[in-house]
Structure formats: structure tokens, C-alpha cells
């Protein structure tokens, strides 16, 4: 674990920071999430570090709680999409034949409709609650994880060492967990970072459109929606979530990049 490049260090630092802030939000936030404590759009001061929002709530507190919501939903959706996508992907690759065909063609179909459009269509009849959002995002995104996991697994299962294991008479458990998975892990973990970023952007977009997290609950996309009118008066309140999302996503990108290169260097070895 030595020799972590600077960019990955920065990435790890900020990622850790955001997650800690999400976990300890109630301890860190100076005011309550929905507590009206001041005037509308007060400028930043020692009392309100980032000023107040469109109805006089402390913006810093809303940002911290909002981050908690956004990160929680994105994490849950990623875990779901990842588990489902990679299990199905491995299953399809190792089974082959019609099982593989059926799952793959169905995934093609889901992916033929853009995720956002699909989500909007479903949300027109479903109530917008947090569990439904997580489920919807997780399921839609699992198609992408499926494709990657399947491709990686197919690449590995045609390797001679997997054939050697099958000729030895090894059971499917050994082949998946001892021969395939250790070699598939790094691209999958890197992909997990990208999926998480996508989930953050997706839930923020839905909330911004008014179809995600519902007020008074705070989340980063919602904060933009609540404060967008302020922009016309030169008030930056709606831009803070943008900075937060950008730093979080870039940090995770940097970490994912590092994990990927670390893998290739291991594979390359001396040859």
C-alpha cells in the first residue's frame, strides 16, 4: 500500500471526508435540517458560514444533511446495482448458452431506452419515496454492471488456467471464487466508483426535476431546485451543491483510476 500517487491520495482524502461528514451529519451540522433560523438568502457570516437559503434555513446545515441523503441513496443504489449486476453477469458468463442469451438480450432491451427517460416513465406512476428511488436506480444501473461483469468474466473463463482448473475437476465455486474473481476484482471495483458517481448525478438530477427526494428532506439536487431563483439576484446558494458534487465525483474518479492502473501493473509484471 506504499507508493500511492498524489492524485489518489487527494482522491482518498476527499472521499473519506465526504463519507465521514455524511455519517456524522447530526454532530457536525450547526443547526437543524429544516430549522428556519434567519432571513431569506442571508450572505455568509460567522453565524451562517454559507449564508441562508430561500426560506431562511442555514445552508451549511442543509448541505451537510443533503450530502448525507445523496450519499446514502447513491451508496444503497450502487450496492444494489453492483450485487445484482455482477452476480447475474458472472452467472451468465459461466453458464453460457441460452441462459446467457436470455439475460443479455433483456439487458440490451433495458439499455435501449435511456436511463433517465425510463426512470421518468416509471416515476409517473410510482410514488417518489427513498426506497423506490434506490430500487429504480439500482435496477436500471445494474444493466451496466452486468455488461462489464459478464465481459470480464467471459475474458477470464476462456483463459487456459480456467480450462486447466476445469480439466482438474474443480467445482464451479472454486472456479468462480479462486480462479475468476481475484482477476476480475480490480476492474469491478473501479467500475463501482464510476457507478457511484453516476448514482450521485442521477439522484441529484431527479431531485432537481422535483421527482427525487421530496422536501423538507434535504439533498444536493433539491438544494439547487430550492435556491435556483437566487441565481438571478447573483446569489450563489444554488451553486454550492455543484461544487460539492464535483469534488466528490472527481475524488472518486481519481481513486478508481489508481485502482485500475495498479491492476495493470500487477498483470504486466516483468514480462
Amino acid at each position: 500500500m506504499k507508493n500511492i500517487p498524489i492524485s489518489a491520495m487527494i482522491g482518498l482524502f476527499f472521499t473519506g471526508l465526504y463519507f465521514l461528514m455524511a455519517i456524522f451529519a447530526p454532530l457536525l451540522a450547526p443547526y437543524g435540517m429544516a430549522e428556519i433560523v434567519g432571513d431569506v438568502w442571508e450572505p455568509s457570516s460567522s453565524q451562517f458560514l454559507l449564508g441562508t437559503d430561500s426560506i431562511g434555513r442555514d445552508l451549511l446545515s442543509r448541505m451537510i444533511y443533503g450530502g448525507r441523503t445523496t450519499i446514502f441513496i447513491a451508496t444503497a443504489a450502487t450496492v444494489l446495482s453492483f450485487t445484482l449486476g455482477s452476480v447475474l453477469g458472472f452467472f451468465a458468463a459461466v453458464s453460457g448458452g441460452w441462459v446467457d442469451q436470455a439475460i443479455s438480450r433483456f439487458v440490451d432491451l433495458i439499455m435501449s431506452i435511456p436511463s433517465l427517460i425510463f426512470a421518468l416513465v416509471v416515476l409517473s406512476v410510482m410514488p417518489t419515496t427513498v426506497p423506490i428511488l434506490i430500487l429504480l436506480m439500482g435496477l436500471l444501473d445494474s444493466t451496466r454492471v452486468f455488461r462489464l461483469a459478464r465481459a470480464v468474466a467471459v475474458d477470464i473463463t476462456v483463459m487456459d488456467y480456467v480450462e486447466a482448473a476445469r480439466l482438474r475437476g474443480e467445482k464451479i465455486g472454486w472456479i468462480i471464487f479462486r480462479e475468476t474473481l481475484p482477476n476480475a476484482l480490480s476492474p469491478l471495483v473501479a467500475e463501482m466508483g464510476l457507478r457511484f458517481i453516476f448514482a450521485v448525478l442521477f439522484v441529484s438530477t431527479l431531485s432537481f426535476l422535483g421527482l427525487g427526494v421530496q422536501p423538507p428532506q434535504a439533498d444536493w439536487g433539491g438544494i439547487v431546485k430550492e435556491n435556483k431563483e437566487g441565481i438571478n439576484y447573483g446569489i450563489q446558494a444554488a451553486l454550492y451543491p455543484a461544487y460539492a458534487i464535483a469534488t466528490l465525483c472527481i475524488s472518486i474518479n481519481l481513486v478508481a483510476d489508481w485502482i485500475l492502473t495498479r491492476t495493470t501493473s500487477l498483470k504486466g509484471g516483468r514480462g
Binding site: 432491451l109 431506452i113 427517460i117 416509471v122 410514488p127 439547487v224 458534487i245 464535483a246 465525483c249
Partner: protein
């Protein structure tokens, strides 16, 4: 007579595209009809009496089996009848027409700027591979990929419209405006869309060109003593068209989705805003119709990308 293999392949792809579109329509219909949500309840709200709900269901034809309703809907769509909106009783096809035109207008200008820009930047990044222009370009694209479309929108509104007062912050256009006025109105949305697709398109173009430039036949050309420009023009370009067109098509498809959010940010009277508006009003027929149109455009662009790669493949064009 035997069909040329390329024509056969293209016919296959077209048939596959139609099949996919059909399957997508089923999926959209299923997504809005069979899921546990109840349209009648959504329209009338939680306090509706059971009688009112039953009436509403009958009115909407919700008591028919789903298959019957699906084919009734599909039959209408195929004849250009998209149904009527629940919220205002207006014909959906009428409302969609003008909005689709506006959306295409916006997407066209975004594409007209972003495609040449992305390809040139991609070439530039290849030309200065691993040097500072390449690194700068990838750093900037990494940043734009990491911010959602609507936030890029507000950041640009904040600086370009409010602070510098260069262009208007809302993009309202109508038929009485001249082209110049329209372009002025959509300047910032076009910038946003350009930034959104530029990053992806540039990265993919860079990868596609690098892939071609690392081929052995490029080395052969270099060892013939050909100059760089001639190599690019005569050897790299014919092989790079297909991957680049592919990149462009995939990103235009991506752009279509970006349009939805950007239209909401700028209150632009297009398809996207129409769709989002009616999702919140739970106006299912409108959502189905616009969802289907978005899916059709998306599938169509992907199909074009497929067909171009078939056409550009010399192995398929000149079979043994």
C-alpha cells in the same frame, strides 16, 4: 438474385432496430400500466371516493386487460394518434409537434458546435499525446463529466447571464422570432449541452484515432517515407471514419437525454420540459408518448452508428 452481404446485414440491423423499438414500446407501456402504481389514484389523489375512482378507471379504460389496452395504444401510435392528455384534454400529437421541432432545433445547434469541436480537440490530444495539451484536455473533461448538466447550466447562468450579461438566462423562443433572436436565446443552453457531450465525445474520439494510428499499416506508410498529413489523409482517415461516426452517434443519443434536463433549467419549450412537467402531473398518456419518442430517437441514432460501421468495413463491402 443473391443480395449483397452488406445489404443483407443492413436489412437485418433495420429489422432488429424495429424489433427493439417494438420491445421498448412494450416496456414503456408495462412500466406505466402493470406496476403497482394506480393512475386513477394518482390523478384524483388520496382523498378520492371509491366511486370517483371507479368512474375514473372506467373512463380511462383501465378495466380492460392490459394486452387489449396496449394494442389499442400501439394501433393509435402507428396512425399518428398519441391520445389525449389527461390534464388538459388536448391532443398530444398537436402539443408534441411544435415542441419536438424546438428540441431538435436546440439539439441541432448543440451538435453543430460540439461535434467539430470534439473531433478537433480529440485530434489535438492525439497530436500532443501525454504532453500538456493532452493532459489539460483530459483534466477539463474529467471535471465536466463530474458535474450534472443542470449544475453546469446554473454555473453558466450565474457567470454568463447574470455577472457578465452576455446572453439571456431563460431560453424562450417562439415562431415569430428571427433566427438570430432564436440563436441568442438558446446560446447558454447550447453551451451547456456542448460541455456535457464534449468530454465524452472527445475522449472517445481520442481513443478511436489512437487505435488507428497504432496500426501496423500506419507504420508501413511511415516506412514508405510519406509525410504525416498524407498518412492521416490517405491511410488513417478511411479507417477512422467508422469509429468516429460511431462516437458521434452515441454522443448525439446521449445529448437527447441531456436535453431533458437543460430544457427544464432554461424553461425552454421543448419535449423534455413537456415530459418532466407531465411526469409530476402523472399524466400517463403524455409520458408514454414522449417516452416512446425519446426511445425511438435514441434507438435510431444507435442504429445509424451500427449501419455506418457496417458500410465502412472493407471486409464486408468487398467480400471474398
Amino acid at each position: 438474385m443473391l443480395m449483397h452481404p452488406v445489404l443483407k446485414l443492413i436489412a437485418q440491423r433495420l429489422a432488429l432496430g424495429l424489433l427493439l423499438l417494438f420491445a421498448a414500446s412494450v416496456l414503456i407501456f408495462v412500466g406505466t400500466s402493470i406496476l403497482p402504481g394506480d393512475v386513477a389514484q394518482s390523478i384524483l389523489g388520496q382523498s378520492a371516493t371509491p366511486e370517483a375512482l371507479a368512474n375514473m378507471r372506467r373512463e380511462l379504460g383501465l378495466n380492460d386487460p392490459a394486452v387489449t389496452r396496449y394494442f389499442a395504444w400501439l394501433g393509435g401510435v402507428l396512425q399518428g394518434d398519441l391520445g389525449t392528455a389527461l390534464t388538459n384534454g388536448r391532443d398530444i400529437a398537436d402539443s408534441l409537434g411544435g415542441r419536438l421541432k424546438n428540441t431538435l432545433f436546440l439539439a441541432f445547434w448543440a451538435a453543430a458546435i460540439s461535434v467539430p469541436l470534439a473531433i478537433s480537440l480529440g485530434l489535438l490530444a492525439v497530436r500532443y499525446k501525454d504532453r500538456w495539451p493532452d493532459k489539460l484536455i483530459s483534466a477539463v473533461t474529467l471535471t465536466t463529466i463530474s458535474i450534472p448538466e443542470f449544475m453546469i447550466g446554473y454555473i453558466l447562468i450565474y457567470w454568463v447571464a447574470i455577472k457578465w450579461r452576455l446572453f439571456p438566462s431563460v431560453a424562450i423562443i417562439n415562431d415569430s422570432m428571427s433566427l438570430g433572436e432564436k440563436l441568442n436565446a438558446i446560446a447558454i443552453p447550447v453551451m451547456v449541452l456542448t460541455l456535457v457531450v464534449l468530454a465524452h465525445m472527445m475522449r472517445m474520439t481520442r481513443a478511436a484515432i489512437l487505435n488507428v494510428m497504432q496500426s501496423a499499416y500506419i507504420e508501413t506508410a511511415e516506412l514508405k517515407g510519406l509525410g504525416m498529413l498524407k498518412i492521416i489523409r490517405k491511410h488513417a482517415f478511411p479507417n477512422a471514419i467508422a469509429p468516429i461516426v460511431n462516437v458521434v452517434m452515441l454522443n448525439l443519443a446521449y445529448l437527447v437525454v441531456g436535453v431533458v434536463v437543460v430544457e427544464v433549467v432554461f424553461a425552454y419549450p421543448g419535449m423534455g420540459q413537456y415530459l418532466v412537467d407531465h411526469v409530476s402531473k402523472r399524466d400517463v398518456p403524455v409520458v408514454q408518448a414522449s417516452g416512446l419518442i425519446f426511445a425511438a430517437v435514441y434507438i435510431g441514432l444507435n442504429l445509424v452508428a451500427d449501419i455506418v460501421s457496417i458500410l465502412a468495413n472493407p471486409r464486408l463491402r468487398h467480400p471474398k
